[in-house]
């Protein structure tokens, strides 16, 4: 990065360290923090949406929909994450390519499955093999978001389903007595009150999601844990900056990052919970009323 870094073997002490910490590989490491934060920022709302849809489906009076919701939550929660990330993603990718294959290459006669190989016409490749590497990375990242959303959506659906059932029955009956229909009762009475019951469960899920990002490397997205392991591993003289096994320091750095991040999340959740309890018929809401 700096001009003085051209020949690392001649450097010593702090100058060496400054060059080492700003080489291309470290810049990628710093960038991967952005990747992880972006993933969390996108995945959290999407999985919440999945969870909400799942919980609504499970509560539905229309039986097939209720079954669909319940099957989704129980099957996905039961499958180990790593299986999901190894096989589901490949299946999803192949499914997309198969659909494109059907649409784009009607004249293709060779079978798509040949032994263990999966072959679609070149135009159906997703993304096209001619696309630049960044497009491939964005595509992999999107696959990761979808997979994370499906997995965590199932857990969120279960939390929200429980929260919806925890809202006192009397509230709903009163709403009906005032002449609200089912839809109005759901959106005006049930949904605003359920969040305070859902919050502890959703908080837990968020904490688990923060720590689940190393699964990203299975999809070819290089996250902070991948880079820490790669950078920290002992480097022989083949590298420009040889050093012994420094993984301990890199992982300590990650530990600090994760602890700080989870601490900030905790504070945010605490505030949110205080805000949501305001005016609620719960013990916390009651305590706030007495204090005021």
């Amino acid at each position: 990065m700096f001009a003085s870094c051209a020949d690392p073997s001649s450097l010593e002490g702090l100058a060496w360290l400054a060059c080492y910490l700003t080489n291309g590989k470290h810049l990628l490491f710093y960038g991967s923090f952005g990747t992880v934060l972006l993933l969390l920022a996108v995945t959290a709302p999407v999985s919440l949406a999945f969870g909400f849809a799942g919980a609504m489906a499970s509560r539905s009076r229309f039986l097939p929909l209720a079954w669909a919701g319940k099957i989704y939550t129980s099957v996905v929660r039961g499958v180990p994450d790593i299986v999901f990330f190894l096989f589901f993603v490949i299946a999803l990718d192949q499914g997309i390519e198969w659909l494109r294959h059907q649409a784009l290459c009607p004249g293709w006669t060779e079978p798509v499955r040949q032994g263990s190989d999966f072959i679609v016409c070149p135009e159906a490749k997703m993304p096209l093999s001619t696309a630049p590497q960044t497009v491939h990375e964005i595509y992999n990242f999107s696959l990761a978001v979808v997979t994370f959303a499906i997995v965590f959506g199932a857990f969120a659906a279960n939390v929200l389903y429980g929260a919806m059932n925890a809202v006192p029955r009397a509230q709903l009956e009163t709403a009906h007595a005032y002449g609200m229909n089912d839809r109005q009762t759901f959106w005006r009475i049930l949904v605003p009150q359920m969040w305070v019951y859902a919050l502890p469960g959703l908080g837990n899920l968020w904490m688990i999601l923060i720590k689940a990002t190393p699964l990203l490397f299975l999809l070819g997205v290089r996250d902070i844990v991948y880079w820490a392991r790669e950078l920290g591993g002992s480097k022989t003289a083949i590298y420009a900056y040889p050093h012994p096994d420094w993984r301990l320091y890199y992982f300590l750095f990650l530990l600090v990052f994760y602890l700080a991040f989870t601490r900030v999340s905790e504070i945010v959740f605490e505030r949110l919970s205080r805000k949501l309890s305001h005016g609620q018929a719960t013990a916390a809401g009651e305590a706030q009323r007495r204090q005021a």
């Binding site: 190894l86 032994g115 999966f118 490749k125 093999s129 001619t130 490397f217 070819g220 790669e230 012994p244």
Partner: protein
């Protein structure tokens, strides 16, 4: 007029194919120096990077390098996320059932055991190897207790902190480490495993395999492959 449309369509089709075929995505692990590793500027580097680039030049292909986790490197090849595996992968019968290999561009892998002391029991002790490698299956067949790690680097770390008695890995990878560190010893002669290292391609990709085979042959004939092997593997004579 009709003919004109037809021939333009044919032209568009062929150029489309040519374009799509020309980029070959090279899958590697990026964690196995000197075969392949991520260098300090974050790019794939090493013996296989140079061999791969030269092969692509000779076969007139445009190549792009991709890294992938070792555990899922074969499934991602067969499902078409990249077109070759060039990651120090030895040719074995087990793998040959799922994918195809070109002729070897590196001789049967000499592997060595490295340990923290000079008197260890390699047959009855605890030995580390990377998951899903020929070394791992070799350790399992010797009667020693096998401990598997996701990366080769972790096998060395396990030796050093006493978790295992010894580690088995490619000589090209272990020897520089054992030479650089005073607390690690080479405790065996060369163990030859597998049928050499080849480029892995999908079984249905006969055309690409042929092109790469031809390019490897030409590199063997003019001695450039030997030069690369001697450059990256200290003290090794080019065998071709």
């Amino acid at each position: 007029m009709k003919r004109l449309i037809l021939s333009t369509a044919a032209l568009a089709l062929t150029t489309g194919f040519a374009m799509a075929q020309d980029v070959v995505r090279m899958g590697t692990e990026g964690a196995y120096p000197p075969y392949n590793f991520i260098n300090d500027s974050g790019e794939v580097d090493g013996f296989e990077r140079e061999v791969g680039d030269e092969l692509c030049k000779r076969a007139e292909l445009t190549c792009e390098w991709v890294t992938n986790d070792w555990d899922s490197i074969i499934p991602n090849l067969t499902s078409g996320n990249y077109d070759t595996i060039i990651a120090g992968m030895s040719i074995t019968d087990e793998r040959d059932q799922v994918i195809d290999f070109t002729q070897p561009y590196f001789p049967p892998d000499p592997s060595i055991y490295v340990a923290a002391s000079e008197d260890v029991d390699l047959e009855g002790g605890v030995v580390a190897a990377q998951t899903g490698t020929i070394q791992a299956s070799h350790v399992a067949s010797t009667g020693a207790t096998l401990v598997e790690f996701a990366t080769p680097d972790e096998t060395v770390a396990a030796v050093r902190n006493g978790e295992v008695d010894a580690a088995l890995a490619d000589k090209g990878f272990l020897l520089p480490i054992a030479n650089a560190e005073s607390d690690l010893y080479v405790v065996s002669d060369d163990v030859y495993l597998g049928d050499g290292i080849g480029v892995g391609v999908r079984e249905s990709d006969a055309e690409l395999k042929e092109k790469l085979d031809a390019a490897i042959t030409s590199m063997k004939e003019d001695g450039s492959l030997n030069t690369l092997i001697e450059k990256w593997f200290e003290g090794m004579k080019g065998p071709y």
